[in-house]
């Protein structure tokens, strides 16, 4: 087997445009997904079974089926309905692989994120919620000022993992002809039939993206973490009682 470094160098510009597509898909999906995840998570913490039912089914479906099925259901599945095909509003969006991938990624990551945010909301110490009530905050105020800010900080490590999973999951965009990093690599392989070199190069680029993002997330976590206030006087300094 003749390993060709030249091919790796030659395909780098194309692979880098693939990186751009991957990052774009993930960034948009994660950002939109977040705005879906928060209300879904809040509804999931409701004690009313009627309120719970819809967000529960949504999360259950998107966490219980493969992302690939979700992509195909949206890209091929929805297009098989006459209503969708004849709709001047839906069809221009749903016939584009790009939008279909984006919708699938967004709904998928939102479902996983909703569970993370829900867990974090439930992990907010009772005392803080009680304190908010005690000083007369309404439920909405308590959510906005106390519960959600606190929950985000608790959720951050798990949420960071979800972003990493989304980066890796985005490789599936290539199954519906999108030229993300994996799609670009597959295209080059189909032309050159040099899978080892091209996939190796793509793999290294993924590792750079993933560990780059991990590094950034660690920094953000560190910035946002609260260091407990240092008490001016320690108990033992108070001297003998």
């Amino acid at each position: 087997m003749d390993f060709s470094f030249e091919l790796i160098i030659a395909s780098l510009p194309q692979l880098l445009t693939g990186v751009g597509m991957t990052l774009q898909l993930v960034a948009v999906a994660v950002a939109l997904g977040f705005f879906i995840a928060v209300p879904v998570a809040i509804l999931r913490t409701s004690r009313n079974p009627l309120v719970q039912a819809l967000p529960f089914s949504y999360v259950f479906f998107f966490r219980g089926t493969p992302l690939l099925v979700q992509i195909f259901l949206i890209y091929y599945g929805l297009g098989s309905f006459e209503v969708v095909r004849n709709s001047p509003l839906l069809w221009p969006i749903l016939r584009e692989a790009y939008w279909c991938a984006l919708i699938a990624f967004t709904l998928n990551t939102a479902a996983y994120s909703a569970e993370i945010v829900r867990g974090a909301i439930m992990a907010v110490p009772f005392g803080e919620i009680e304190a908010a009530k005690a000083i007369g905050m309404t439920r909405v105020q308590a959510f906005r000022r106390i519960i959600l800010p606190r929950a985000f900080r608790i959720a951050l490590p798990a949420y960071g993992n979800e972003i990493i999973f989304m980066i890796k999951g985005s490789a599936l965009a290539s199954t519906i002809t999108l030229l993300d990093l994996t799609g670009m690599a597959r295209k080059i392989v189909a032309r050159t039939y040099k899978p080892v070199e091209v996939f190796l190069a793509a793999g290294i680029l993924y590792l750079i993206i993933v560990y780059g993002v991990t590094w950034v997330l660690k920094r953000v976590e560190k910035r946002l973490s609260i260091t407990p206030p240092r008490l001016p006087v320690k108990a033992e300094d108070a001297g003998p009682v």
Binding site: L73, G77, G169, A171, Y211
Partner: protein, 222 residues
Amino acid sequence: MLQGFGPQLLAGLAITVQVALVALGVGLILGLSGGIAKVYGNRAVRGVAEVYTTIFRGLPEFLVVLIAFFGGSLILAQFSEDAELNAFTAGSLALATTFGAYATEVFRGAFQSIPPGQIEAGKAVGLSGIKIMRRIVLPQVWRLALPGLGNLFLSLLKDTALVSVIGVDDLMRKADIARSVTKDSFTMYAAAAVLYLLLTAVTTLTLHLLERRANRGIRRTA
């Protein structure tokens, strides 16, 4: 409604389960070895395990599947002209490799939460290293690692859909075939989705029972 493709989809489901179980088996061996290497290994062994988890936790599962299939075919072609790589094998092993990398971290955590005093006690009564492992450490590791491994297996179940792309006749590919024949994409993928949901729901339930069994006799708060 399924236009006669029901049995085909069920046959695909059976292949999906097989891929998942093979990948689970091989992945558990990889993960256990990796975990032992990271906690008890010397520098070199630890280094190897570190490189393994760093690479395979950072690569998309789909890319690993593609590398295993296309790279594997090419390597196999070096040895024999007419050897053909089995997509099932390549796909299962690719998924196993990723599973093993994550499982390594789960096992590492489990090994590290065994109190060192227990191992010292084992040494004190004169057990050999292997016996300490088999009689003291491993029986507890199972209980500690189970929740993490369960979550990994659920991801694995869903990732098996990726092997359809390299031509394994799993549930996803059967749905693809049914779609191209009937042109009724929505029904076919929806049927596949329902079967996957069923699979993950049954697995979640089984894991719950396994966890309850593994935790029998453990003191709990509340």
